[in-house]
Symmetry: C3
Subunit: 367 residues, 3 copies
């Protein structure tokens, strides 16, 4: 099966992929009309969504062929590849406010929007849904600790105004190393010593036929390049476009980037909820958020020494700290009972909506 | 049975109602000695307590006659009628500090004082008390989310000094609309789609005989007018009286108004605890606090555009934010196990006492 | 059995006690070289560890002879005797920053380090460990409430800059009285009315033979005097030594004092975890932290009126407040499931490590 044939079959199975037509359009438009920021912004958003879905399927296909351990490792590392590529492009452009907003936004969006919408969509079909309380609690515990670890520099720095910029940089680097070590141990834990706890979340794309190895690897490489190219256009146009739409940069990073980058995972989580497999939805939502905190964020800090104009630290603006803490606490409280009903979903989504509204109304500020 | 006969029978059944004698006394005193603030304050407190008890019984009687759905709706909407009327009177007088303190105080008092005293009173009679963990957790989850939604403007505004007053007003209005929508959905959830989860809390006044419809409606109307009249005296006298007693306005709003307004509900909750029906107590305490956050607070914000001198926003002073968050987190942690013992009650009450002490000692500040 | 014989037998049983040789060495060194701060610091740390172990065993021996109620009371009161003596010495020297850091550090170290290392050490031997969820939750609830009570003055004072120093002092005294009353009621609860909930944690030194009463009492008295003498040297040398090692005073109080003072309890907790008796470990860790908050801290505030240069209040620096809240929330979330695995231990330890790193890098500040 050639690459083109595989793509065509996918198109039939996943109508979302028709959006792929926007990939050449946005690349052409960027060449022809580099100053049409609003148009480029909209086109690049439309182009990233199907690319993220392709990346997700390619990663799973490689995983399915290489066996559980390697496949799990790949899935865990590349599961947030789209977010990582967008953030790297913003890092390269020195837009640290956007990078940090997209880290914070991915954690908040995964825990509140993805979880809340899964509960709501599932709850509209089934009166009460039960899921594995033990593994949900363990995952919520991991997420809480991972987020806390990520937030300590901001919390302390901000509580303690005597702490200076050098302190913040040193701490961010030390912390990033610790987080990556913790992530490596988390791989060992979830893929080797205690994989039965995470079993149900491993097969995100159940029902889909995996691609042959060659096709999958070629897709992975090719699509990553395409995501990078489109991200470049996206990052360049987002600032100006946001002004046109009246959106603050914080809103764009927090909400728009997070929703765009996580579209593929959301599709899996929502489909799981509709099939009364809430374990799957909870696993994707909490697992993905943990991965951002334990892997994507520290990798970006360490890479900022090589690719950004100046090193980036891990101190978030105060409102983001509050939102991340509330989001993870909400996830911990809400998944505690192992039961869900539609109104729980409504309330979790409402917290997300309020965050979004707050960020939308927030007057612009310097990074 | 005439109105007078009904009142007389109630007096026999509920000795608290003898306090009704203070209603004419305070109204007369306000006419004769409008400058005796301390006296008027004490008299109005004594008069509001039995009126609140009458309102509560009247609401339940109407509910009992109209059937489950309408009755539940009435109960849920009018359950905090006393608090609402007091707050409206303060709003009309432009005392926004008092209004906000009474919102925050009602949430804190319901979760800490009502819950803690129920655990203590029940625990003195039974070594360990069990209650329905599943519904307690769901209610604690609702309360946490409702409170968080209410607090976001304060948390963000305060974390982010760049945010101005216009931002705060716009956000408060948007948020109020969202909260009321959430409350309407909550009605649908708790009265229609999942009413079995809330069943035990529905019959607050079990054992009492409901009044006939006419008596109940007349009482509802008449007593609401009386509460409004007494509240007017209360709000006018409270500032000056507080100075005499050495109490800060924050203390008055947080502690005095909340205890006075919630007296009737507390009586039901405590009686439930003594009868080993802790489900009832937990339901009343958490349900009432949720209602303040999801219904009373946003209604006051929206009404402030019509009846107050200037619109009121939803940003609380920082200490109130901390107290509300701690109160709801405490409720979530404490109700998590589904078991209670007397010392749990002591500790929850101690947190309340410490809040009260802090507010009492706090030097006065401008609203 | 003479005192010397008892000590000799202990030396064989507990190799840690060989460190006792540093007690005379540090006392001699302090006489001969009072200006060798770094040396004296290291020697005093080495001398306090075995003294703490002796104190712990002596307390348990007295407890074993006097029966459950009195023994439990003794254990509960003297369980943190080492921390108390070190803090008293620092209080006498007017080093309030060190006193407060050691209170905060003991709470954080007990909940994060002791709990995390117990989970890790136990988890390396057993894939999953279960422990009594009900009592763990109740203890975590107590700890949360105790810590919240301790933190309210700091949280409010800091959120509310209008509050002055007089406010803070009045509040600290009132609060200390409340905390001690709560502690007395906690004794009643855990030793009398509900002792079955705490049963497993009562016998910290199982397997060890209790000493005869005379030996135990003599050890208790003699070792307390020795701890006081060594603490005096420790407190005098710590400031200068910390500068040599590049450690901030916050780091010394938070991390070094807490680890040194809690060494004996940690040995018991870790040994319990290795024997798959995680109830014991959780009980020691959470119980000891609660005791610091409910007993040691308020006693120090009240004693500061008699032995310190000026009275001490209970307001902690903002970073310490954040760390204590996160530590107790972590304990509550982590013990919620009643199950543990090695990676949970790793994550809890990581939060502790990050706190330690933050404090180490923090630029020095005035108390």
């Amino acid at each position: 099966m050639s690459f083109v044939a595989a793509v065509r079959k996918e198109l039939h199975h996943t109508p979302l992929l028709w959006l792929l037509v926007f990939v050449p359009i946005v690349l052409a438009a960027a060449k022809l009309k580099p100053e049409a920021h609003t148009l480029l912004f909209v086109l690049s958003v439309l182009a990233i969504v199907p690319l993220a879905a392709l990346l997700s399927h390619a990663t799973e296909s490689v995983g399915a062929k290489t066996g559980d351990a390697v496949g799990g490792l790949l899935n865990a590392t590349l599961g947030n590849l789209t977010e990582l590529v967008i953030a790297l492009t913003a890092l390269y452009a020195g837009q640290y406010m956007l990078v940090k907003a997209s880290i914070a936004g991915a954690i908040v969006t995964n825990t509140l929007f993805m979880l809340g919408a899964s509960f709501l969509l599932g709850g509209l079909k089934y009166p009460t849904q039960e899921y594995n309380r033990v593994s949900a609690r363990m995952q919520a515990g991991l997420l809480f600790l991972a987020t806390v670890a990520l937030l300590i520099p901001s919390a302390v720095a901000q509580a303690d105004s005597a702490a200076g910029a050098i302190f913040s940089h040193k701490l961010s680097v030390g912390l990033s190393v610790l987080l990556i070590v913790a992530y490596a141990l988390y791989m060992l834990f979830s893929l080797k010593t205690h994989r039965e706890l995470f079993a149900s979340a491993a097969h995100g794309g159940d029902g889909e036929v995996p691609w042959p190895m060659g096709v999958a690897l070629a897709t992975l490489a090719g699509v990553t390049v395409l995501v990078a190219m489109v991200s470049h256009i996206f990052v360049d146009s987002v600032q100006k476009a946001a002004e046109t739409f009246g959106m603050s940069p914080a809103f764009v990073g927090f909400i728009v980037v997070a929703l765009v980058g996580g579209a593929a995972e959301m599709a899996s989580a929502f489909s799981g909820a509709r099939k009364n497999r809430l374990d799957l939805s909870v696993g994707i939502a909490l697992g993905s958020a943990s991965q951002i905190a334990l892997f994507v964020a520290p990798v970006l800090v360490l890479l900022s020494f090589f690719i950004g104009p100046t090193p980036m630290d891990l101190s978030f603006w105060p409102g983001a700290v509050v939102m991340m803490l509330i989001a993870t606490l909400t996830a911990a409280l809400v998944t505690n009972s192992g039961r869900s009903a539609w109104f729980i979903g409504v309330l979790v989504l409402m917290v997300y909506l309020i965050f979004a509204m707050t960020l939308y109304l927030l007057p612009p500020r310097a990074a």
